[in-house]
Every structure is written in C-alpha cells, then in structure tokens.
Amino acid sequence: MTEIYMDHAATTPVRPEVLEAMMPYFSVEFGNASSIYSWGRRAHHGLDQARDTIAGLIGARPEEIVFTASGSEAANMALKGAAWGLRSKGNHIITTAVEHHAVLDSALWLEKNGFEVTFLPVDSEGRVSPEQVRDAIRPDTILVSVMHANNEVGTIQPIAEIGSVVKESGALFHTDAVQTMGVLDIDLSRLDIDLLSFSAHKFYGPKGVGALFVRKGVRLDPLVHGGAQERRRRAGTENVAGIVGMAKALELAVAEREVEVPRITKLRDQLIRGLREIPHTRVNGSLSERLPNNVSVCFEFIEGESLLLNLDMRGIAASSGSACTSGSLEPSHVLLAMGLSHEIAHGSLRLTLGRENTENDIEYVLNELPDIVHRLREMSPLYDK
C-alpha cells in the first residue's frame, strides 16, 4: 500500500546517520557525564562536542546552549524562568495570539500567577509587526515572545526587526524556533535574540531532546532544579545519546539546506497550486513569508478529522487544526486569530513536506484529495451545490 508521510511539522523520523551517532552512548559510553572517571569523561566529551557543534551552527557560544527534553520544556523555561527571574524588574509579558501552546499556556499560567500578559493580534496572514510590539512595550515589560514560524500555517515572523525593537526597550526577547531550526538560517551572533527554543525531533533528530539558547548574561530561574548539570540551569542526568543525536541531525540539516530547501519549496508550491483547483478552498498563511515545507488550506463545508481519516485510509498522513484532532473543543486558535470563522477553521488541512517526499507523492495526494473532499461535501448539510 502507498504510504506517504506529510506531517513533518508534527515530527520526523530519526535519520540513520543520526541513530548511528547515538548508538555508542546507550550501552557502551553510558557513563554519567558528571562523573570524573573515564566513562564519565567520555560521555562528557560527547556532550561537549554536541554542544560545540550546535552552538557553531547557530552563531552561539557553547555555554549558551542549555539542553532540555523538548521544545515545550525549552519554551516553558524561557517564559517561566524569565518571569520568575525578573519579577523584581516588572511583571508584564508580551506574546502573540498564534504561538504554540507551549508558549501560550505558559503565558496563561503566568497570568494566573500574578503576571500581566498582552497577546498581540495578527493579520489575516498570521503576522505581527514590529510596530505592534513597539506599541505594546511598557516600562514594566520584562519579556517578549514571538515565534519564528508558525507550526500550523507556516507564516514566518519578522523576528530580526522585532528583536531590535525589544532590545531598545531592555526587555528580553524569546523566539520559538521549533519549526525553523535546521530549515531557515539562524545566526544568533547577528540577531537581537536572548532566548531561542528548538526541538530535535522536528529536524530528523530523536524525540525527547530540545534546547534553549540563553544569551550570555541572561539570568533565568531554572524550571528543573537539582544537580549541577547544564551550569545549574537545568538539572537531571544528561540524555547524552539524544543530545549527540540532535547535534548530528542539525549538522546534516544545515549541510543539506541549500539543496533541500529549494527542492521542497518547489514541491510545496506545486501542491498549493493543485489544491487551489478544488472549489471552495482557501490557502492559509502568507504565501511569501512561509516555511518551505508548509501547505495549509481550508476546505469549506467539511470537517478536518473526517478528512484525515479518509486520507489515512489512502495511506496519507496529514494533520488538521480541527477541534477533534487537538483534544480540545475549539478549532485551531491560530486560524481563529487570523480571522477565520469556526466553521471554516474546522475544515483545515495541513500537509508538511520532508526529505522523503517526492513529486510522485504530490501527484498522489493531488489525485486522491479532490475525491475525498467531494465525498465529504456530498455528506455535508452545509454544502449547497
């Protein structure tokens, strides 16, 4: 049976080269990286090398990389760590209405615990502007968090410009780069970014490993207290294999980016063009400032989950911002923030491309989808031919 995975924004397979780099650290070089004997030193060496590699690839210093267990943990650490660490300076936080729940829910929790949060609205393409950020900044603003690119609709935010605005104010700037790491060029030596989150499993590394870049001089309260790991910023015996895997994955992603990004952008545009031919279909997000692998559309009159189930039966893995697939009762907060109605937001479909996808896959999807959409519309009480 045909099996086409088009949900690379959700997660990616571990590349064989990555798994190979990880293997020695499970059962052979298994030492605790904090131990001073040879097993420990060899594990620590693996950790150091991984840290150097990652730092080098994003224009950071090794000591500015704090390893975490996920993008979510990194984002939580950025928001809560900054909030708790800077409470004496102010209690106002700015973020956007289209952040991933890791940022959004951290902000909401802080709001419940004595902080004030401004959630900036976005335009119909999902963008915030540096001016909006400038206008929202107050003397007591301690942190601004704006994602690099949106995981649902693929819209890229002007983080360089926003960073400059935030820097002027003296607040910290966090960006959630979970969707862009390894895909877009990120050079932290040239960007006014204090905190940056990313997650290995989004770029063909293992699940359960993430990192937070913490610019030198920035003080956060830890999220996980305990041992002296990660320069006392994040306790817990280090996941050496996972971290080594993340470094290898990022190295490969960056090395292949120049070839892979244009390839995948072409496939993406081909897919978008094809989907547009289905009537009553709208493309979500910016067409110009867009992740190279993201296709997000809404089909009117139908609901996302039933669409996904039908796609799955034809071997296509995709995702939707439909309420039914998010474990909540509301459809995607991102699509709603962009001004879509509930009804239309329920009919969203996200296809995110990856290394294994080919032109054949695009053709297959474009062949199957119109039929599925048609079938579901025929069944829909909202559809009036």
Partner: protein
C-alpha cells in the same frame, strides 16, 4: 482510536442523503463546535419507514449518524424516541471518551425529527 464498527460506519455510512418529502426533519449541533447533523424521517403507520442524514463533523459524528439511521428504521416513534446517545455509542462498540459528549448527537437529531413530525401532525 476508533472501533472497527465506527470505522465501518464512517467508511460506508448508511442512509446518507436527504428525503425531499420527509415527514419530519431534525437538526442539531452547530458549526462553531464542529458538528452538525441533519436527519430526515418518513413515517408510515406510526413507524419510521425511511431515514436519511447529512453530517458535517468528525469520524464519530458521521458514524453515530449512520448507525442511528439503522437503529431507527422500522421502529415505532415511541421506540425510536427511546434510543439514547449511550445506546448509539454502545451499538458502535464504544467511542473514545472525548467523543462521548461532543460528537454523539445523532440520537438527539432523531428525537428532533420525531418532534418535528409530531408538531406538524399535531401530535404533541
């Protein structure tokens, strides 16, 4: 996630469509929450002789709509009114907990259609 029975009714929904000359029509849900079910019944001799549905919604919503039409067909109005959402879920070998409240509205739609029939025929 879904039982085989659910997937069967989702993949091959029974009685999809409209009944232009329906004796009663029921509609429940709204687009906001992502599920709308519309159900048409024909009544003969106090029994449901035909029933059709259209549904905008997730897999569970489509499957419950489908099975409720099967459960209802041939039943008297009084019997059909007794079909509970719980019975619908059971007939499908269960639904994921999260779907129990939000997408299990088909029995409600059926009751609405019966009520509509009764109203039209002054049987309330």
């Amino acid at each position: 996630m879904y039982s085989e029975k659910v997937m069967d009714h989702f993949t091959n929904p029974r009685n999809v469509g409209e009944l232009p000359d329906a004796d009663g029509v029921g509609e429940v849900g709204n687009a906001r929450c992502g599920d709308i079910m519309k159900l048409w019944i024909k009544v003969e001799d106090g029994r449901i002789s035909d029933v059709k549905f259209k549904t905008f919604g997730c897999g569970a919503a489509i499957a419950t709509s489908s099975i409720v039409t099967e459960l209802a067909k041939g039943k008297t109005l009084d019997e059909a009114e007794q079909i509970s959402n719980r019975a619908v879920a059971e007939a499908l070998d269960g639904l994921p907990p999260i779907k129990m409240h939000c997408s299990n509205l088909a029995a409600d739609a059926l009751r609405e259609a019966i009520a509509d029939y009764r109203k039209k025929h002054n049987m309330e």
